[in-house]
Symmetry: C2
Subunit: 340 residues, 2 copies
């Protein structure tokens, strides 16, 4: 995988830290990693009282390090999204065992007393994945070699990351040179690289997007995780900058057919698939005049089999491209359409 | 003027600091302030060797303070955009005289040795206008009372700020309750308030825009400085977030008829006025379904009188709304169109 210098970069494999968590729902990050990149998860580690089980070997930092782990990754979200002070000892032990620490929580790792000095001494890194790299460039707008597909949505939180991951995996399985490219914190942990695009200074959104999917071999495909939606009144600026910097050859339009309004925004109704196709193509043409919509990804999780089948068939009729649900249907036709 | 708590806010009037500058082109900020808000400019101050003349009384910090000045404003841009170390003494004297310091330069004011402590002691503020306020909210998308006009452009740097300033002044002259709302550093200095929208974290662009033009009386007009262009491959995300958060009732489409391509971006041709109207209305309808294009502002500075007249007449024919050049023609018809 070609990698830009201007992205957050993590060292794999991980020791997944689960704290004293007892609720699997608070360990979504750890479960996501185990499911998507099992080869990058070498073990799990609890604090006394914790018993969420990923089915991985129980390791302490030094045995994880001896087994090849390169980072301890915080895989749970405590109340408030902060690092509890009583974790300090475990994090210090990990650093002393030569592991980087990777966190997506709000508390900066450097604010844990003594951790920064210990990391410097041990020559390891403390990585807050939500923090963008320093010195991001402004966008150049210059065309890059390689093929890119951008996941774009009629709303937030409807499966854009999952769609990109599933397409990358399906393409790799077919022997196609393809990478998932991460733009949010869970995605970065899965990919081991990326930039949390919504945390970048506004002037640098498109520039960061150019770093996320760097120049590549002509037949290489990047499957780029989307963020927000052009139809979202709070986040559309992020969506547009990401789209422009990605200069996609193809769009995968992601949609939840059971929604009538933006999640938690009852005043904003969802666009039709045709309307969304028209606007996304219109704005994406600025940096890639040949962009096309290659497929539709539907999140049919709220529908029974018959209704899901009907929704997929209707979407295909409406847009004339393959429709799929990465949780439910094969992806072959979508991949074929992407390859053009 | 109603003012949000979440904007940078400056104390006027200003003592304009000109350093040892000898080139008037490097003092554009100071000249802009003198021209647009002469009532806010109480005097000028030089370092030895400087002789740029704004035609204002020459004052030192204590006499300026005695004459009513509330801030020393750095009105020049030294090489590299940084604060030279030999300015420290003058800035310390200003702080000790009870003046805030206002800067748009890259060097943070707090990095000038001793300045922060002196400011704390004197109870004055050090304000880097490019730095956004802390704790900006995410956008709510909720409609606010009051009327808003957004300046939008086919490119950057073609007169959006000047257009908003001129319209606000023309409306105020007619007794209309109107404010210029600033989204960039020179605009903030002129208005005494605002947010440098391109320096905001991406997730908060639209939220910052909501703070810039807060709820107001039903017949109050905000004339909102634009940033970037939806057609700019590096900055369109900023433009879109600003537009969504502004939820404008009216757009003023700003254009330079002598350009064929984006300034410094020869690979990107300018859209036609109709194309720009269509896309801007399409995206602006998300947060204000009743938005309309009220007028066209042309930057005809590169054209002679006959060509300028012809360009204005052509723009009117193309869009069916008044066209004006705020440097060259009356604004009455544009204001009338804005009022609807």
């Amino acid at each position: 995988m070609s990698q830009s210098v201007n992205t957050v970069t993590l060292r794999k494999p991980y020791l997944l830290f689960l704290g004293e968590e007892t609720n699997p729902l608070k360990a979504k990050t750890a479960f996501g990693l185990r499911d998507w990149v099992p080869e990058s998860c070498i073990g799990q580690m609890h604090m006394p009282g914790g018993h969420v089980d990923l089915g991985l070997p129980e390791l302490d930092p030094s045995s994880a390090s001896a087994a090849g782990a390169r980072s301890l990754l915080i895989g749970v979200t405590p109340v408030g999204g902060r690092i509890p002070s009583h974790w300090a000892q475990a994090l210090l032990a990990a650093v002393q065992a030569g592991l980087d620490i990777v966190s997506g929580l709000h508390t900066p790792l450097e604010s844990v007393p003594g951790l920064r000095q210990a990391a410097e001494q041990a020559g390891v890194a403390l990585i807050d994945v939500r923090r963008p790299p320093a010195n991001l460039p402004r966008a150049t707008g210059k065309r890059r070699r390689g093929k890119r597909a951008a996941m774009v949505g009629t709303d937030c939180a409807l499966g854009k990351k999952y769609t990109a991951l599933a397409l990358a995996k399906a393409m790799q399985t077919q022997g196609i040179d393809a990478d998932f490219r991460a733009t949010g914190q869970t995605g970065i942990m899965i990919a081991g690289a990326g930039i949390a695009i919504d945390a970048v200074i506004a002037d640098f959104i498109a520039g960061a997007a150019e770093c996320i999917s760097p120049e590549a071999a002509p037949d290489h495909w990047d499957l780029i995780e989307g963020q927000g939606s052009i139809y979202h009144p709070a986040y559309a600026g992020v969506t547009l900058g990401l789209l422009h910097g990605s200069q996609p050859d193809a769009l995968i339009l992601c949609h939840d057919p059971s929604r009538t309004h933006l999640v938690s925004w009852p005043d904003f109704s969802l666009p039709s698939l045709q309307e969304a196709r028209q606007l996304y193509l219109h704005i994406a043409r600025l940096t890639n005049p040949d962009v096309r919509v290659a497929a539709v990804s539907l999140n049919t999780s709220a529908l029974d089999d018959a209704a899901a089948h009907e929704a997929l068939a209707r979407a295909e009729r409406e847009l004339g491209v393959p429709a799929f649900d990465p949780m439910r249907t094969p992806l072959d036709r979508a991949v074929a359409s992407l390859l053009g």
